[in-house]
Amino acid sequence: MYDAPQLGNAMDQTTTKISARNVQVHYGDTHAIKDVNVDIDAKTVTAFIGPSGCGKSTFLRCINRMNDTIDICRVTGDILIDGEDIYDKRVDPVQLRAKVGMVFQKPNPFPKSIYDNVAYGPRIHGLAKNKSELDEIVEKSLRRGAIWDEVKDRLDAPGTGLSGGQQQRLCIARAVATEPEVLLMDEPCSALDPIATAQVEELIDELRSQFSVVIVTHSMQQAARVSQKTAFFHLGNLVEFGDTTQIFTNPQDERTQNYITGRIG
């Protein structure tokens, strides 16, 4: 079992954004996440890797309480964002999700116009006082999503009419429109071709300057390309967490080694 570094380590240069302590997740009788401790740094891309069913997506969805929508899911332990427990009774998950944005595996734009897709979040959270402010937010978000130049002439066109890669960048733009502090990505490139994947990866690298990005991926190469920190999950355990370069050249745990070199574990 991997032990997270203690909080308040004087040697830490970066600040900790999210810290999980003894997180356990049960789906009915299934123990999906077993005692996970991890500190995720601010303005860093952290990748979660691991075989299917290892709990990495489950853990990701704990960070913005998307698991709340599943009746049989129980989460125990603490997940702190900026030192505040997100599973505290006083926390409204809706408010939390504005702060912790999420991008999903399949590009899922609303079947509305590109403009409305991005404007939806700011609208329901009341981030814009008037139309021109909203226009500004939409443009800024689309620029951050690196898709502004491609769609600026057709903001009224349906978001579902874009190509897969464009749709995913639109979804990222939609996620950043609510000014989140953390951006969760659940296999954002699994449905994309290599060029679109590269564009999204480039975008993730740019987003790092403003957000803490946590990305779940099945592609180890992708984890290696985009992340600074990598966590390896196996059978619900966080097996190893460390610098991406270290994980990919010299993993300490045999299970990590077996997984990333493609050996029979």
Binding site: R97, A98, F104, N108, A175
Partner: protein
């Protein structure tokens, strides 16, 4: 495993493949036969209904100039409406008889052996009633000669639709060959005409011995009232129930039970709903019999399961990724449902609703039990009071007419079926258009 030997060529078809191909062809043939049978049945049904029912939309009229004799209608010449009102329909019959006598007196129209009493029978009994209504509406016309377009009696009408012939008239005590001859002469003189029967769509039902005056007006109005009630009750209740069950309700034994019961409710025979309506709405709640409100409530109960099942299916068909997307940007569950899921499910919900309505429109059995089979001459008033007035319904009217002895009513029943089919077709078309219009790809 089969070994691939290099000697087999794909250019020759082996036995196995041939048998497989033959089996496939056979199956396709079965399919074509099945579809042909179904189409034949449909065509047969349509032909019988249309051939029997289309004449109901035509009606024979006899135009007569009638002298509104003040001696009969306004005996003391006071022009007092109250007194004129006292003259019953029977008081008008002699005027018609007299007008016919004048026609019979004309040499070119004279028919040997036809008494004016019999000639008067060629005009529908409704004719006198119409005249009375006209006079009451225009009392100052008394003393004038007015041209009236009377309904011909059912037998004369049947003569021009091929239902009555000279031979059958000889055996019929209601019509004589002389009457038919006179009718032919009237036709030659341009006084007897066959034209489109608007009355069929607008008139109320009529009694046994005057089929020519029977119309669907009250039945159509009653059916429309009921559909309005069903739409405004079943749609919101059904959609709300489905949304709650599908999106909000916890999954436990209780919601499972509710689900099973809703599915079972859809399979309950409709007559059972009629018994329920009779027991609860009429006997217990004391709502009036034969009223659209009771029929509407019963049909609402019947339609609810259909709407709930269709709505849940279309809600389920909305990809969960859309819900995730909405929740992911911080929408509440209700916002996610109402902003994103419901608009996507709307075409399916509307289609389900319209299909449910169409089903309700054609439903007869429960309406029989709540007394909508009654003979209703009066139009219900405008809603909402009209919902509590007695009315008929289209399918019940069909049932009613097929019970009557006069063959003219059979024709009208078929005509009513055509009207019903047109309504159903219209609703299905709307359903298809709505689906096409709102269907979106995601």
């Amino acid at each position: 495993m089969t070994d691939v030997t290099p000697t087999t060529s794909i250019l020759t078809v082996d036995d196995r493949t041939r048998r497989r191909n033959v089996a496939e062809k056979r199956f396709r043939t079965y399919g074509v036969i099945a579809i042909t049978l179904a189409m034949l049945a449909l065509v047969g049904l349509m032909t019988s209904i249309f051939s029997g029912g289309l004449p109901a939309f035509k009606q024979t009229f006899i135009t007569l100039d009638v002298y509104l004799d003040p001696a009969k209608l306004d005996k003391d010449g006071s022009s007092d409406l109250e007194k004129i009102r006292k003259v019953s329909t029977f008081g008008y019959a002699p005027l018609i008889k007299k007008a016919l006598e004048e026609q019979l007196a004309k040499p070119e129209l004279a028919v040997e052996g036809l008494k004016s009493k019999d000639a008067a029978k060629m005009i529908s009994k409704e004719g006198a009633a119409e005249m009375r209504r006209f006079v009451l509406a225009n009392p100052d016309m008394i003393g004038e000669t007015v041209s009236f377009k009377f309904l011909a009696s059912g037998r004369i009408d049947g003569y021009y639709k091929g239902r009555v012939t000279m031979q059958s008239a000889e055996r019929d005590k209601n019509v004589s060959p002389q009457q038919l001859q006179f009718a032919d002469k009237l036709k030659d003189a341009g006084l007897l005409k066959t034209s489109f029967n608007w009355g069929f769509l607008t008139r109320a039902d009529a009694s046994e011995n005057r089929p020519e005056a029977a119309g669907l007006g009250v039945a159509i109005l009653g059916s429309v009232y009921m559909m309005v009630i069903v739409l405004f009750l079943a749609l919101p209740i059904g959609v709300a129930a489905s949304i709650y069950l599908e999106e909000f309700a916890p999954k436990n034994w209780f919601t499972d039970l509710v689900e099973v019961n809703i599915s079972n409710l859809a399979a309950v025979p409709s007559i059972v709903f009629g018994i329920l309506g009779l027991a609860i709405f009429i006997n217990f709640a004391g709502l009036p019999q034969s009223a659209p409100i009771v029929g509407g409530l019963v049909l609402t109960l019947m339609t609810l399961p259909t709407i709930i099942i269709a709505t849940r299916a279309s809600l389920k068909a909305v990809p969960p990724s859309i819900r995730d997307a909405a929740l992911g940007v911080g929408a509440s569950k209700m916002q996610a449902v109402f902003h994103h899921v419901l608009p996507l499910a709307a075409p399916g919900i509307l289609t389900g609703t319209i299909i449910g309505l169409a089903q309700a429109l054609g439903e007869t059995a429960p309406l029989l039990l709540i007394g909508m089979v009654a003979f209703v001459r009066e139009y219900p008033s405008a809603p909402p009071e009209g919902f509590f007035d007695p009315a008929a319904a289209l399918p019940v009217q069909v049932y009613n007419w097929t019970q009557r002895a006069d063959p003219a009513f059979v024709e009208r029943a078929s005509g009513a079926i055509i009207v019903l089919l047109v309504f159903l077709l219209l609703m299905n078309t709307i359903a298809i258009i709505l689906r096409r219009r709102f269907e979106r790809r995601w």
